[in-house]
């Protein structure tokens, strides 16, 4: 296994470790992909610039953490609130100046969001530079994980070297679960959720009933971007902030949204968990490039042969 830092570990603990890392990927991916899915579901547009909102979240988190001295938790806490708000506001502005004027035509919107992708990415390159920069986690206690092994004198508990995680990584998973429950509550239990679902079901009818569809669209676009930014803030203590970091989340979110069924939130979350976990475990056995090739190929073929997604119900 080339490049495997844990090569000395037995396969069992190694797979456990890989699934833990996979769970973190899955958590962050679920947040990003739910944002993309929400935008696609309600507005019927594909936002190619979604990965850049993720990247902006991470970069703004670095900037805030860098400007605030003191305990790392202070800066990180501020970033956790401020970054999604800033990115969300930016997305609302992009919606009102660009997407609205295109009348949300699906094809022209894709071309325009490709443009937005380059604008955000290159502006970040100009302002932030080409370096990858770390952000210190607010708390980072190392937790070792025991492993049970059947030895000469029955079962024994051992502590394999390298098998462990940190409190922050577990907190990321917890935070994602809480946030996803929040999104679900927002969609199913609030008036704004009802309005969103009504707009998704029938835009013209919603408009006829006095729902300000354009404002709903702007808010949904902002909400989707804010979720991506939040995922970016959460990941930045684990993975450094870099201006090109948006490409992978974009691709993975596409994979997740398409496999989970376009616009279906439960399908998206399920697919995110599946892809995130298998990404960790597959890369134990295959090279990451091969894993990416297979995943991308799968998505292409799913779109061709099962456009409603693997878990989505056939709509017509």
């Amino acid at each position: 296994m080339p490049g495997n830092p844990y090569a000395r570990m037995d396969l069992g603990p190694y797979i456990l470790l890989a699934s833990l890392e996979g769970a973190i990927t899955a958590a962050v991916l679920a947040l990003t992909a739910v944002g993309l899915s929400l935008v696609f579901g309600v507005m019927r547009v594909v936002n190619i610039a979604h990965g850049e909102f993720f990247m902006l979240g991470a970069v703004i988190a670095w900037w805030i953490a860098h400007s605030f001295g003191g305990h790392p938790a202070l800066g990180f806490g501020v970033a956790l609130i401020a970054a999604p708000l800033v990115v969300g506001a930016l997305a609302v502005a992009a919606d009102m100046t660009i997407l609205k004027r295109l009348n949300y035509d699906p094809e022209r919107t894709i071309v325009a969001t490709i443009g937005v992708l380059y604008i955000i990415q290159q502006m970040t390159l100009m302002g932030y530079g080409p370096d990858a920069r770390p952000v210190e986690a607010p708390f980072n206690t190392r937790l070792a994980i025991p492993w049970f092994e059947h030895g000469a004198d029955g079962w024994a508990m051992i502590w394999p070297w390298g098998l462990g995680t940190t409190s922050y990584k577990l907190a990321v998973i917890g935070a994602a679960v809480v946030l996803l429950c929040g999104v679900w509550l927002l969609m199913s239990r609030t008036r704004f959720g009802l309005v969103m679902r009504a707009t998704q079901a029938d835009r013209d009818m919603a408009q006829a009933f006095g729902i300000p569809v354009e404002r709903v669209y702007a808010l949904v676009f902002g909400l989707g971007a804010a979720l991506a930014a939040l995922a970016g803030v959460l990941i930045v203590p684990i993975q450094q902030a870099h201006y090109l970091m948006g490409a992978d989340p974009l691709l993975l979110s596409f994979i997740v949204v398409i496999i989970g069924g376009l616009g279906s939130l439960p399908g998206t979350v399920l697919a995110a968990v599946l892809i995130g976990l298998s990404d960790g475990i597959i890369s134990v056995f295959f090279s990451p490039t091969l894993a990416k090739i297979l995943a991308t190929l799968l998505v292409g073929l799913v779109l061709v042969f099962r456009p409603q997604g693997l878990f989505g119900a056939r709509s017509e």
Binding site: V46, I98, R101, L102, P106, E107, R108, I110, V111, A112, I114, G115, V116, L117, Y118, I119, Q121, Q122, M123, L125, M126, P130, L251, F254, I258, S287, T289, L290, K292, I293, T296, L297, V299, G300, L301, L303, V304, F305, P307
Partner: protein
């Protein structure tokens, strides 16, 4: 002058102008224009599918790279001479575009865009995966000795310009002939109203398939020539960016016009060339152009010309 004669005069005039320019241009712009003509051929191929048939592909880099690597790997690993290597590149482009068409044409609209994007990404990653042969991101150089076609050294700037002109001239004329032929009229009709064309009894799928293979093969011809003329093949030519470029060039010049791809490539090339002297973030120009074009000028430069001055412009 009748419409037909004016069309011939305009397009023949451009080729004659490009022919004359090689004797007067300073070396730097001479080299640039050779590059622009090859890239414009790529855009001409893209325009047949996007501009005339109305299918927006986000994966044409796959065809460009198929031509480039079909040619490059043929020279590098099979020891081919340039002429059969070029043919191998064209065949690779035709096969890859035909194969992708069979899959992607089952979808329409946004799904078509995403499917082409995904398969192009698969192609890019495959080139990286077989880095042993393709040298991945780093790419490989095609040596000067391997670039002699029928005794003509294509690394010489004069020969290179001439070869690029022949390629561009043939692509332009092919495109002009195609869109004025009945086949091209059917493509435009598909773009305007697919259901009505189907009702008139045309085989939509066959026409789209043919358009995609022609478009992909022209892109592959451009890719193979690019590798041969400039002596380099690298994975970056298969990346998403090289799928976005022809879209940008065609949008800027005017989708569905024969001259649009060249005009768009010329403008965008110099815009990026100028701005890359100022900043490393030169792709910012591409992003701003994409947004502004979709917002304010979806017809592009030649499209505006057609709308305001000459309605019969092909």
């Amino acid at each position: 002058m009748s419409g037909g004669a004016r069309v011939i005069a305009l397009h023949g005039g451009l080729i004659a102008l490009l022919f004359v320019l090689q004797f007067v241009l300073p070396a730097y712009h001479h080299g640039n224009l050779a590059r622009i003509m090859v890239l414009a051929s790529y855009a001409v191929g893209y325009n047949i599918l996007f501009g005339y048939t109305g299918l927006l592909s986000l994966g044409h880099a796959l065809f460009f790279a198929a031509g480039m690597y079909g040619m490059g790997l043929g020279i590098q690993h099979l020891g081919l001479t340039p002429a059969p290597a070029l043919v191998l590149g064209l065949v690779a482009g035709a096969v890859v575009s035909g194969g992708l068409a069979l899959l992607a044409l089952r979808t329409t609209g946004v799904a078509f865009m995403i499917v082409t994007l995904m398969f192009a990404q698969v192609g890019y990653l495959t080139i990286l995966y077989f880095g042993e042969y393709t040298r991945g991101d780093e790419g490989f150089v095609i040596q000067q000795a391997q670039r002699v076609l029928w005794g003509i050294d294509l690394s010489d700037p004069g020969n290179r310009y001439f070869a690029a002109l022949i390629l561009f001239g043939s692509c332009l004329m092919l495109s002009l002939w195609l869109v004025r032929a009945p086949f091209g009229k059917v493509l435009v009709a598909i773009r305007e109203n697919e259901e009505r064309v189907r009702m008139l009894g045309y085989d939509i799928f066959a026409h789209k398939l043919a358009a995609m293979v022609i478009s992909g093969t022209i892109a592959a011809a451009a890719g193979a020539s690019y590798g041969l003329l400039f002596g380099y093949a690298g994975a970056s030519f298969a990346s998403v960016q090289y799928s976005i470029f022809p879209l940008l060039w065609v949008l800027l010049g005017g989708a569905g016009t024969v001259l649009g791809p060249f005009i768009g490539t010329l403008f965008m090339f110099y815009l990026i060339d100028l701005s890359s002297g100022v900043t490393t973030a030169y792709m910012l120009i591409a992003g701003v152009a994409l947004v502004l074009l979709t917002l304010f000028a979806p017809q592009g430069l030649m499209g505006e010309l057609r709308r305001r001055v000459w309605r019969g412009l092909p």
